[in-house]
C-alpha cells in the first residue's frame, strides 16, 4: 500500500525576480513499511521533496496524495490536521520545544490529538523507554546531549502512531556514536512497528541503513533502487 504518492510534482521558489526550480516534475511512491533514503548533493531537492510529502509545503504543480488523500487543495488547518494523525517529523536541528521537558515534548502531539492524561502518560513512557531516555524524562532540552535530544525527537515523531516518519538529515549534527544510536533506533522501530521512514541524507553510513535509495539531482529523480 502506498503511504505517499507524488505525481509530476514541481516546486518553484520565487525570490524577488529570480525563480528557482527546486523540483522539476518528480513522481515517486512510498510504500507502507519502507525504510527509504533520499540522497543527492546540496540543492538537489531532497528537503523540498520531504516538505511536500510532509504537507509542510505545497507544490507549484502536480499531485501529492498522502495516505490516500489528495493534499494539493487543503488549507493550512486541514494540512495541520493531516500531519497531526499521519506524519511524524525528525529535523536536522534538535527541534524540541526548549521550555518543555523531554516528557512534555513527546506528550505534545498526544495533547493535540486529544488523548486522555492516562493514555498520554502510558504512551510517553513507552516511547521514552523505546528510545532509551526514560531516565531523562523530566529534563529540559538544554540539559540533554544532542543524541538524547534527537532520540526524544524520534519518540515525539512516533507518539501518535503515524503512518509515515520524515527525517531531514537526522544525524547531521551528531557524532558517529550518537548518529549510529539514532539510526539503530529508527531501524528497530521500523521493523517492530512497521512505520514507514523516509529520510534525507548524504551521510554514507546512514544510507547503508536504507532498503531503498532514491537519488535526486537538480530537482529530478535520477535513480531509484533497492539495496
Amino acid at each position: 500500500m502506498e503511504v505517499a504518492k507524488l505525481t509530476d510534482v514541481t516546486r518553484v521558489y520565487k525570490i524577488g525576480e529570480v525563480e528557482t526550480r527546486a523540483l522539476n516534475g518528480v513522481s515517486v511512491a512510498i510504500n507502507s513499511g519502507e525504510f527509504t533514503s533520499l540522497v543527492g548533493p546540496s540543492g538537489s531537492g531532497k528537503t523540498t521533496l520531504l516538505q511536500l510529502i510532509g504537507c509542510l509545503d505545497q507544490p507549484t504543480s502536480g499531485k501529492v496524495i498522502i495516505n490516500g488523500k489528495e493534499t494539493t487543495n487543503l488549507n493550512r488547518n486541514q494540512r495541520a490536521d493531516l500531519r497531526k494523525g499521519t506524519i511524524g517529523f525528525v529535523f536536522q536541528f534538535f527541534a524540541l520545544i526548549p521550555t518543555l521537558t523531554a516528557y512534555e515534548n513527546v506528550e505534545m502531539p498526544l495533547l493535540l490529538n486529544g488523548k486522555t492524561p492516562a493514555e498520554r502518560k502510558q504512551r510517553v513512557m513507552e516511547l521514552l523507554e523505546a528510545v532509551d531516555v526514560a531516565q531523562r524524562a523530566h529534563h529540559r532540552p538544554d540539559q540533554l546531549s544532542g543524541g538524547q535530544q534527537q532520540r526524544i525527537a524520534v519518540a515525539r515523531a512516533l507518539a501518535t502512531n503515524p503512518k509515515l516518519i520524515l527525517a531531514d538529515e537526522p544525524t547531521a549534527n551528531l557524532d558517529t556514536e550518537n548518529g549510529k544510536q539514532v539510526m539503530d533506533i529508527m531501524k528497530k522501530l521500523n521493523k517492530e512497528t512497521g512505520v514507514t521512514f523516509v529520510f534525507a541524507t548524504h551521510d554514507p553510513r546512514v544510507i547503508s541503513y536504507a532498503e531503498r535509495v532514491v537519488t535526486l539531482q537538480d530537482g529530478l529523480i535520477v535513480k531509484d533502487s533497492a539495496q
Partner: protein, 406 residues
C-alpha cells in the same frame, strides 16, 4: 487549556527581565489611571458636596423676580415672612433643614484696607449652618439676638489682620439703594476648607442683617437641605407657589453637572491614551517573542498545532502578562488612592467661583465601579493588542517558520 498557560508561563520566564518590564509598564499605567480616576472622582465629589453644602443647597425658594447675581435687597425681589415659609418646608418628611437667608453686597474695612464681600444673614441655630459652626477656628458662632457680632472667614481675617474681638467697619447696599455703615465686633473666625468661599463672605444674624440693610421682614431665599438629594424634584413639586421660583440643585449647578459629565469623558480619553501606550509595549514584547520563536512555531505547526491553537498560546502569554501587570498596578493604584484619600492633595485657593467650589485639599475617592471598569478595560485592551502578534504567528507557513531563527 492548562497546558497553554504552562507553556505561556515558561515562555515568559525565558526573558524574565523583558517580561517583568512589560508587566511593569502595564502596572504603572493601571496604577496611574486608578489614581487619576480616584482623583477626578474625589475632586468632583468634593466639589459637588462643597457647592451644595455651602452655596446652593438642594433646593432654593426665591421670589419669582429674584436675581442672585444682583444681591439686591429691594423688597420686591425678596420673600416676605420667610421664617414662616421655612418652617412649613422644614415640616416635610424629606427635608433635613430649611432656613431663610438674606444676601447683600458690602465692603469690609479694617485699618486702611477694604475688601468687597457678600453679607449673609442667617438663622444661626439652623442645622444648615453646621459647616460654618463646625468650622469655627477661633471665637464662637453667632447667636440670633447678637446685634454687634459678625463671623468672618479665615482668609479674610488673615488678609485684614483681624482676630476675634477686633472691630471692623461694614458697609452695606440697602433696600432703598443707599449705603449704610456700621461697626461690628468679630465674634468668630471660620474655615470651611474652601478658601475661595471663605474669603468673600461674612455672616450676621438674620434679624440684624435685615435691620442693617433695610430688608425688613424679608429674605433672599429659603435654603433647603434634603435627607436625600435625589428627592429634590419631588420636594420642589410639593412646594411650588404663586410668586415664587423653586430651583433644585441640578438647575442651580448646571455648570457643575456639566463639568461632572465632561470629567467622565476626559477620563475615558486619558484611559484610552495611557492604555494605548501600554498596549504598544505588550505588542512589542509579544512581537519580539514571535520573531525569536519562529522556528519553534514552525515545529509546533509541523506536529499539528492549528492556527487557532497558536493564537491561544500567545493569548495565554498576554493573559498572564496582563493579569500580572494589572494586578500589581491595581494594588499600587489602590494604595496610592487610599493614602491620598486620608491625607489629600493640597492645591490651596484655586479661585474658582461659587458655582463650582473646590476644597483647598482634594481627597481621592476610588469607587468599585471605576476600578472594575478600568481593570476590565485594561485587560480587554491587552488581549486585543496581543491579537496582532498572535495572528502573525498563526499565519506563518511551517516551511518558512522552520527555517527561521530559534
Amino acid at each position: 487549556m492548562m497546558n497553554y498557560f504552562k507553556m505561556a508561563y515558561r515562555n515568559l520566564g525565558r526573558h524574565r527581565r523583558r517580561s517583568v518590564l512589560s508587566g511593569l509598564a502595564l502596572a504603572m499605567g493601571t496604577a496611574l489611571l486608578l489614581f487619576i480616576a480616584a482623583f477626578f472622582t474625589g475632586e468632583m465629589r468634593s466639589s459637588m458636596e462643597t457647592t451644595l453644602r455651602l452655596n446652593s443647597g438642594h433646593i432654593q425658594v426665591q421670589d419669582a423676580d429674584y436675581d442672585p447675581d444682583k444681591l439686591s435687597v429691594a423688597w420686591e425681589y425678596l420673600i416676605e415672612n420667610p421664617e414662616q415659609a421655612a418652617a412649613q418646608i422644614e415640616a416635610l418628611d424629606q427635608v433635613q433643614a430649611a432656613t431663610p437667608r438674606l444676601f447683600a453686597s458690602g465692603i469690609v474695612s479694617a485699618l486702611d484696607e477694604s475688601i468687597g464681600i457678600q453679607i449673609m444673614g442667617i438663622v444661626p441655630e439652623s442645622s444648615a449652618n453646621d459647616p460654618y459652626r463646625d468650622g469655627i477656628m477661633s471665637g464662637e458662632f453667632l447667636t440670633a439676638d447678637d446685634r454687634e457680632g459678625i463671623v468672618i472667614g479665615l482668609p479674610l481675617a488673615e488678609s485684614l489682620g483681624l482676630k476675634v474681638g477686633d472691630s471692623i467697619n461694614l458697609l452695606v447696599n440697602t433696600a432703598e439703594g443707599n449705603v449704610d455703615e456700621q461697626k461690628f465686633i468679630v465674634r468668630g473666625i471660620f474655615s470651611t476648607g474652601t478658601s475661595a468661599y471663605d474669603k468673600g463672605i461674612v455672616f450676621l444674624p438674620l434679624a440684624k442683617a435685615q435691620a442693617f440693610s433695610g430688608a425688613g421682614n424679608h429674605a433672599s431665599m429659603i435654603f433647603v437641605l434634603l435627607k436625600d438629594r435625589e428627592q429634590a424634584d419631588v420636594v420642589a413639586a410639593a412646594i411650588q407657589g404663586e410668586g415664587y421660583q423653586v430651583k433644585t440643585w441640578t438647575e442651580l449647578n448646571e455648570l457643575l453637572v456639566l463639568v461632572d459629565d465632561f470629567s467622565n469623558a476626559y477620563l475615558a480619553i486619558i484611559n484610552l491614551i495611557v492604555l494605548g501606550v501600554t498596549a504598544t509595549v505588550i505588542v512589542n514584547t509579544l512581537l519580539m517573542s514571535v520573531f525569536e520563536r519562529t522556528r519553534e512555531i514552525g515545529i509546533l505547526s509541523a506536529i499539528g498545532m492549528k492556527g487557532r491553537q497558536i493564537i491561544a498560546l500567545f493569548l495565554a502569554e498576554a493573559t498572564l502578562l496582563g493579569a500580572g501587570g494589572i494586578a500589581v498596578g491595581s494594588l499600587i493604584g489602590w494604595a496610592l488612592s487610599a493614602y491620598f484619600s486620608k491625607v489629600g492633595v493640597y492645591f490651596g485657593d484655586l479661585g474658582i467661583s461659587n458655582d463650582m467650589l473646590l476644597q483647598d485639599r482634594i481627597y481621592t475617592y476610588l469607587t468599585w465601579e471605576s476600578a472594575v471598569n478600568l481593570i476590565v478595560t485594561a485587560f480587554i485592551i491587552t488581549l486585543l493588542a496581543s491579537l496582532y502578534p498572535a495572528r502573525l504567528a498563526s499565519r506563518m507557513e511551517p516551511v518558512e517558520a522552520l527555517h527561521g531563527s530559534n
